[in-house]
């Protein structure tokens, strides 16, 4: 699980072109959007495309559960893990 979280942090950094940020700077449980890492709505869409490309995960942008999946790196890791099983 820790390895997957690290992988996702690196995916976020590379995909969203986060300058001067390393995986160590991202807390797995902190919010990704707004007050936490500070990502915005375009980042959410971009991240959705990245998850589709890397893990073949398709998300409904309007669904409430998508908000839950995108809440933190840990939640994203749980989503990827559940899709693998």
């Amino acid at each position: 699980m820790e390895a997957l979280e690290l992988e996702l942090k690196q995916l976020i950094i590379d995909t969203l072109e986060l300058e001067d940020i390393t995986p160590d700077d991202i807390d797995s449980t902190e919010p990704l959007f707004n007050e936490g890492l500070g990502l915005d709505s375009i980042d959410a869409l971009e991240l959705g495309v990245a998850l589709q490309k890397r893990y073949a995960i398709k998300l409904n942008a309007e669904a409430e559960e998508t908000r839950q999946h995108f809440a933190s790196v840990r939640n994203l890791a749980l989503l990827v893990q559940s899709q693998r099983q």
Binding site: L16, L18, E19, D43
Partner: protein
Amino acid sequence: MAIALAISEWSGWQAAVEDNHSELPEALTVSEAPDVAVIPPMLRRRLNLLGRACASQVLRLMPKEGNLPIVYCSQHGDIERTLKILDELVAGEPVSPMHFSLAVHNAICGVLSIQIGLNANISTIAAGQQGLVPVLLEAAGILQGGAERVLCVLCDVPLPEIYQSPDSLPPMPYSVCFVVARSEGIRLSLEQTDRDCDRSRADQLPTCLMDFLASDSTELALDHNGLVWTLARIND
């Protein structure tokens, strides 16, 4: 009909290239990368080289308390992002929402307006290689509409390799920024002439304005869409 206007401040950036030994105007910064350190990283990442070239000069000339309308002009715009979108479509991959949202012609000014807190008018133009004439005309129109000053910026980066031809311009990334005012600064007259276009001006870039402003020349000839316009100093 001649249009009277003035240019009060100007500034530019150009990428350093090894074989450039020509004399450059003092207001032109030559460096490897434009300085945009003042923009926070989370916003800065939205700007690639073209956006940074533009931002570095706009942020220099935009007054702190000011909310000047902007006229932005680029021949090719953010063509690297557009090309990436086309590559993704050809490969049958999902298109990057970030590239899609930032590929539009006014996206760079949109990002800048967030940084500056700008709510003044922004005009964006794509007007061929020599955008100075349409930019000055647009600025003159905005002055007529009541604005005291207008901040103008022209910028481009070399075309991606797939679009390159031997005569494609610009040879290096650049940006030029200046403030057009009604009478404060160097007073100028812009006029269309019936002269023939001059082939020796074929590779003229908007940076020629900075050479002109820094020189003793009385007139700058600008070819645009087969017409020749002159920008002449008005002597008191």
